[in-house]
Amino acid sequence: MTDTATHLSGEKARLGAPSISGFTEEGENLSPLNAAEVSSPLGGDASKAHSHGAGAGIPDSSRAGRKTSYNVEDFAALTGREEDFRFTPLKRLGGLHKNELTGAAPEVSFTGAKAVTLETVAMTDARVGSAGIPEDRVSANAWKYAAEAKVLTIPADSSGEEVTVTFTGTSTEAAASHLVVIAEKNSESVLVIDHVGSAVLAQNIEIDVREGAKLTVISLQAWADDAIHASAHLAKVGKDAHLKHIAVTYGGDLVRVTPSAHFEGEGGEVELFGLYFADAGQHLEHRLFVDHATPNCKSNVLYKGALQGKDAHTVWVGDVLIRKEAKGTNSYEANRNLVLTDGARSDSVPNLEIETGLIDGAGHASTTGRFNDEHLFYLMARGIDEKTARRLVVRGFLNEIVQQIRVPEIEERLAETIERELAATDS
């Protein structure tokens, strides 16, 4: 009897996960760059990584079993073999997972507020840690080294607030930063979190969407080319609250964004959108987690990415967990990638765990398509020149996410960014 059978027993059913001996839950695919940090070559210990419950740092087959802790010491040192780091080239992580993060954190500026406030508080403030708890070692390391926290408060019953918090990096010494966003009861607002400049940054963003509140968070990873950024977005979604979260990533050498959303009451709704555009050499990774632990909540996930150039690499992992208590859940997640040139690589892994049959719906989808010569020929045979044809396809593809943003300046900026990225393809 293989251990594969054990986690299929009982009422737990797992979709989309092949049970092949020697493979991890989502296929045998460690980042080749981690090979040196792995104590033995692939096929040695790595092939045994499927065993459950044994050894520190090897997660249970269910996302529910993943370790969470405020203390970095509770997480074992990373080897690159861990489920949640197997795609991440640790050598390019700038030490965020193991070093002291004592560099200067990016400067924070704040614009557009009417009633929204931004305070600087000590990490011992009661509000720090009120919405989230680190789910991986980098996030815990950021927690340990953050010198202070920013707390952004959207007052109860306020509406129409549209604020921007900009993180401007000026140093490439490894640093940590912490932001707490509190959308108080029945507030309605849009928050843009912009990341520009150069940085080596581990970051935690707690997002507390309280009862009846409606919050849109647009996080732009628009870094300079050399930036390294690992960012955990830890969201708590209250009763009848609505979080719309949009991650937009196109700048930086290595960017890893891990949004997770936990429902705290019935009637909550979460929309997680993402858009990424990876160029030659870039590693852009998005790992999200939607934790349905209460009845009658809704989640919808859609990430779209375009890739071009040698060794452009994108990773998308979508974990959706519908716990036994979460009756009446309605959930869907999808990831779509468009590979524009040879030499780029896209990994896409949707994981859907369903522990109750009493749900409204649950589904997942993942596609990775190529823009190829036949598409080009078809469009050109209709009189459309090559440049226009390429733009037409990429813009059309990404537009589904862009139009979710509904902040004209950001939409414009993204349109320009896409144009610029495409101009790079032309040359």
Binding site: M380, V393, G396
Partner: protein
């Protein structure tokens, strides 16, 4: 009056076994308003001719010429050919991810005409043409050919033919995979385009079935990369009765 002239055309493709000649000297002249049917057994080079006229990169012209009113078509890029008034209704239209039909049609029309069509009349024109071809209005918001059935893809090719108003249309086995009703609908579209725009048509087909609905002025029989016989519509009738055997059985 325009003329599309193909003279002694030789075309090769790269295969794993090396270069292979598919067309071995094809000459053909089509004037606007004329309908030429090209018939022949599978592998005789019919579709190669169609793709070569449109400029598909897979096909290499080794000698001969294609001119449109004297202009050298072989010197033009794929999109220039389309803008010059050539249209290829493809045998296997590809699905283009991310591009809605509406956006695609408008962009192509703008490219071909050199100016953007007036939004209101254009929308109406598209709608009318779609109705005539019995294409569900919902298709306009879908991505180009995405999830369309074989028959739907063919209708959409003819929709473009009607909207873009080319001087010459090459229909590459548009009839394949269509049931009788769809064949009729599609044929009516082609006939409308011919009447309204004096379009010249190169109709490539394996079967005579479509010729009941689209009347050819000339029929050319393709065998082994060359025109083996040509005549009027009556030649098609003869092929219907006799098939291609008498061409294939002739010793080389």
């Amino acid at each position: 009056m325009s003329t599309l002239e193909i003279k002694d055309l030789h075309v090769s493709i790269e295969t794993e076994q090396g270069e292979k000649e598919i067309l071995k000297g094809v000459s053909l002249t089509i004037k606007t308003g004329e309908t030429h049917a090209i018939m022949g057994p599978n592998g005789s080079g019919k579709s190669t001719l169609a793709s070569t006229i449109a400029g598909h990169p897979r096909y290499t012209v080794t000698s001969g010429s294609i001119t449109l009113d004297g202009a050298d078509v072989l010197e033009m890029s794929v999109d220039e050919r389309a803008r010059a008034g050539l249209f290829l209704a493809m045998q296997y239209p590809v699905e283009v991810p991310g591009v809605s039909m509406t956006n695609f049609l408008r962009t192509a029309k703008t490219a071909i005409d050199g100016t953007a069509p007036k939004l209101r009349t254009w929308t109406k024109e598209v709608k009318t043409a779609m109705e005539a071809l019995k294409i569900d209005a919902e298709f306009a918001s879908r991505n180009v050919n995405e999830g369309f059935s074989g028959g739907e893809k063919k209708r959409v090719e003819i929709l473009q033919l009607e909207l873009f108003k080319p001087k010459f249309a090459i229909l590459d086995e548009t009839d394949s995979g269509l049931d009788v009703d769809a064949l009729k609908t599609v044929s009516e579209g082609v006939n409308r385009a011919k009447e309204e725009n004096q379009m010249g048509t190169l109709l490539i087909t394996h079967y005579t079935r479509i010729l009941r609905y689209i009347k050819p002025d000339f029929v050319h029989v393709f065998v082994d990369g060359k025109i083996a016989e040509q005549g009027g519509a009556e030649l098609a009738d003869r092929l219907e009765d006799e098939g291609y055997d008498r061409f294939l059985n002739v010793p080389a």
